[in-house]
Symmetry: C2
Subunit: 627 residues, 2 copies
């Protein structure tokens, strides 16, 4: 059984990989049409001067300026030698100026002028735009569309650019190609798929091979072929040290394993090997690990080789949530960064499940050094953006209770240039984030003992802040089941609960209290999930018999729904943020007919209050925070 | 003859074009492999939950947690019901926890444990990653490679994206396709070529038609076809109001001309028309005008339509040179922006000849409002970058005397991540720019009366600055001709001169003085060009018989060379800039074997002093600034 070699640092892993990259760069000649995004291998020179010979810049006559010296209004001069030329015509070498036709008196073949011509006036001299052999582009230049005008105009046809070919081999008996519906226990191949797309976007040639099952001989065969056909080979999964992890062993047999295990998290079980002098990478199977290894190892190696991936800026941001970390590994955490009133904040994405969605939702990441111990909420951190700053500046951070309607709002505002990053931490979690001024809007539905929603909680927890509440909808919460169960049945069946701090959990507790039901008697009361849809999925999968969620989640999965209560789902927003164009766009979207029709289509929403903005009065006597 | 309609403002032109864009967005379904760079037309939802059913997260046994409650080290429990599972196996609904195999004592079919299992431990519940119908991507989202993992993994196959098709028709009897060598008077089509590449980089479908000659019927035919086949049609050139400018007339015949003339410079003679309800743009022929119309009119319209071109930041920069401007038009000036010691400076690019190279060399532009009167050197201006800030931060501004060796240095440092922007203003121009701290390095070769180079001038003009000089080479200057002419011949033949303030001009004047030759007796003394290669081109084209330039320029065009002097060509650099990594990269490049071999290959350079860094002592008695 293969064991990890000694785990090495990220810097050391990069150094090892760099030594394996080809010393001589591969190049190919591509037509101009295909050159955008490629990197020049050599300086590109003008094939000819433009203009190649001097040309008239006017309609007029070409003259020898010396002949014109004495001309004036009083003393017109009839020229001994002149030639009629139009704009763009060649001016023969014996002439050194052009006089505009408007200034010439023409009789038959004779030209009379009343003003001297300065030498070289109205002439576009040869080489005025560019001289033959002058450099158009240096070597190592990333070709952009606006370069093509000069390249075409100055006689460049083919252009020699850097080339690099990467093969990607997905492995795993449980892995299937995308486009098929996975059976339980199967997973869709996605690591090689997104890695190949990423490489192609950097103009790397990729060869994405079919999936190889966990069979040592087949893996060996695939690797031999892949090494032969590419400059670098990536094998996805099988890079750990388990019984079915053959990658390291096969690489060791065919060549040499130089690194097995890098002190990064995620991404530790990476292999760097060499077969026939070519670099071979064993990519870990966990998607965030694969992302990290691609970003931190493979792409830097391609950059050293000379390719030019897009670069994005780093910003300083305040962290919204504490990030735990063990000493010993460099750790990478995806974040959603957003700018709030001139300060950046960074919301750490989940590092656990739903990792593919973390990749989709994030717009940057943190790197915590090996000797660091984690970062506290509120600490300033350096966030490396993975999008342009302009795009990150469009982020609108919505943190709190989740409703599928928020996703639809994201669609509506995206067309207006606002990118919603929503994080589901429940109503109370959102309220506490808003208190730290770390989100633009906090969705909530917090039922107070007096039967009103949200305001009493804001008054208690944010007594000093000027706030408004934007009503998204009044929505129905109720029991979801396959058979139509209701609150009466809650003790008899297995329940799936929402997490503490969520408004739905608080709603449940309110009604359990009212019905005098002891939570300890409910099977599954401790089984927590974090979204309405997750409740519905748990019910549909048979994991639970009933749960509490919004109507739209039950309807989306064709489940039965027994209404319990209608609640006011609102976005709490700091009043000063109402001047923010992103918040204004959000408010317009909530009030738009398109959003009303989304709510109607999803069902379970009353829209009479949708779009209503109410002020939160400064606090009066406090309500009891514990219902 | 067509005349301009009333010239309208840029804002009005944008408004008119916006009204012509299709109200209903066109979409198409593309496979995931082709989705990167496209914009989603609809929200994209998960086709199934992942996992679809709960799975074991460990190798172990699935259990009912209730059965395990009493287990402890002292009181092992043999389970009545348990199932052996491996990681990824389905956990049937009757179980609600998994115990790791290491914690189980197995005898035949019986499992004994010594520790209670928490409900839901080591189980990946259904929907943990994503719930069926949960939104993966909102509408109006620009798809990036890292989105593809989630899309593939969560069952998305085809993806509905925005579509837009633009046709481009180049016109002009003097225009030829690129790849052919233009005869005198011909020009290579480059406007539609770079515009199409630009549009394709935004994932617009383009149809680039063959060139149509200046024939009204043929142009009409091409436009009819182009309107039929595309959503928007661009016709290049013919948009002015000259006799051969048919575009406006044909558009007017076939539909309606809504705008002819926009108050922007460059770019005024633009046409916005409508044929069969589709927008038709007449693009001016001058390349910078075409660039401006694409950037300021066409791309904003596509952005409003929903496509997402890359966005780059704007910076505040100090202008190195005064920019003149007439009141009445918005004016756009390409610049090279560079960061010097924490401040940005912007070098305006030439607005005249060599415009294609201005496009290549710039990394941003200024917009001067219609009512503005121009900007003075040293003023702070807003520069809209056309590259990422990271790329702009790599710019190394070299302003002063030009030598072909500088272009080769640009190639060498580009591979190290430094982008040289060199501007040719002559030795004295560079020296004065350096005095304003507006360049990183000023190349110069200024011969002082004492026979030494550069230091006396720096001491006189920058007496307060701590400076160093980096020697690029000692290079030969001499007379270039087709026949081997020398200084003896200078009165007898036509000369081509370099501009005032250039070191070469000063060198010539020094030797004319020494040989007691009166400049007034030299034919062509007033005929100035700005580079060594331009001198050589003028000689080869027959425009002049001789000129003064470096050997490499003469050799590049196969001309004869008569040496006059060897001069010290050095880069003046502020001493504090030696800590700048870009300057350090430059110095390494000058000292590299690769650069020495470039100098040797070009010829005419002595390399004994190449790479020598000498300090400029603080001034002693002043030399005479006029030679």
């Amino acid at each position: 059984m293969t064991r990890y070699l000694q785990v090495v640092s990220l810097a050391e892993a990069r150094r090892v990989l760099a030594t394996l990259m080809p010393a001589t760069k591969k190049t190919e000649v591509v037509p101009l049409e295909e050159a955008v995004g490629r990197v020049t291998a050599e300086p590109i020179m003008a094939a000819y001067s433009v203009p190649q010979i001097h040309l008239s810049a006017m309609d007029g006559i070409a003259v020898r300026s010396a002949d014109t010296v004495k001309a004036s209004e009083q003393h017109p001069v009839t020229l001994p030698d002149a030639l009629r030329v139009n704009t763009g015509n060649v001016v023969p070498p014996r002439y050194d100026a052009v006089i505009m036709i408007e200034d010439v008196w023409i009789e038959g073949e004779t030209y009379t002028i009343r003003k001297a011509a300065a030498p070289w006036q109205h002439i576009r001299p040869a080489g005025e735009e560019i001289s033959e052999t002058e450099m158009i582009l240096p070597a190592a230049h990333l070709i952009v569309p606006t370069d093509l005008g000069a390249l075409a105009g100055y006689g460049v046809t083919g252009i020699e650019v850097l080339e690099f070919q990467i093969g990607l081999i997905p492995t795993g008996s449980e892995v299937i190609e995308h486009g098929q519906r996975p059976k339980p226990g199967q997973v869709v191949e996605s690591n090689c798929f997104f890695a190949a797309a990423w490489l192609r976007s950097m103009e790397v040639s990729t060869h994405l091979y079919p999936i190889t099952i966990d069979d040592q001989d087949l893996i060996r065969e695939a690797i031999v072929r892949g090494v032969g056909e590419n400059d670098l080979l990536i094998i996805s999964a099988g890079s750990s040290a388990g019984t079915k992890d053959f990658t390291a062993e096969v690489i060791g047999d065919l060549g040499e394993v130089l690194v097995h295990g890098v002190a990064i998290k995620p991404g530790k079980p990476v292999i760097i090997g060499s077969i026939q002098g070519k670099p071979v990478i064993g990519l870990p199977g966990y998607p965030l690990s694969a992302l990290t290894v691609m970003r931190e190892l493979v792409i830097p190696a391609l950059q050293d080789y000379g390719l030019q991936p897009p670069e994005y800026p780093a910003i300083q941001a305040s962290l919204t949530r504490t990030v735990q970390k063990e000493v010993g590994s460099d750790e990478f955490v995806l974040v959603s960064a957003g700018e709030i009133d001139g300060r950046w904040v960074a919301v750490p994405q989940s590092r656990g499940a739903g990792v593919q969605m973390s990749m989709v939702r994030s717009n940057g990441y943190l790197q915590l050094a090996a000797d660091q111990e984690g970062i506290m909420a509120g600490d300033e951190v350096r966030v490396q953006l993975t999008v342009s700053e302009a795009l990150a500046e469009r982020a609108l951070l919505i943190i709190g209770s989740h409703d599928p309607a928020i996703d639809h709002l994201a669609s509506l505002v995206s067309g207006e240039g606002v990118i919603i990053h929503s994080t589901h931490v429940g109503s109370m979690g959102g309220l506490l984030t808003l208190r730290q001024h770390q989100c633009h809007a906090a969705p909530m539905h917090l039922l107070a003992p007096d039967g009103t929603y949200n305001i009493p909680y804001l008054q208690q927890y944010l007594p000093e802040d000027d706030l408004v509440l934007l009503c998204v909808a009044e929505r129905e919460q109720g029991f979801v089941s396959t058979t139509g169960l209701s609150i009466e049945d809650i003790g008899k069946y297995t329940f799936v609960n929402r997490q503490q701090g969520s408004g739905t959990r608080m709603l449940l507790d309110h009604y359990l209290h009212e019905h005098q039901i002891d939570p300890a008697t409910i099977r599954g009361y401790d089984h927590e999930v974090t979204t309405h849809l997750a409740v519905a999925v748990a019910v549909r999968s048979g994991e639970a018999d009933l749960g509490l969620c919004v109507y739209s989640a039950a309807a989306a999965l064709d489940l039965k729904f027994q209404p319990l209560a209608t609640e006011r789902y609102e976005l709490a927003i700091e009043k000063r943020m109402l001047d923010d164009p992103r918040v204004q766009t959000l408010i317009r979207a909530v009030r738009s007919p398109a959003f009303l029709s989304v709510l109607t289509r999803m069902g379970g929403y009353r829209t009479a209050e949708t779009g209503v903005l109410r002020e939160v009065p400064r606090p009066q006597p406090l309500p009891d925070p514990r219902i």
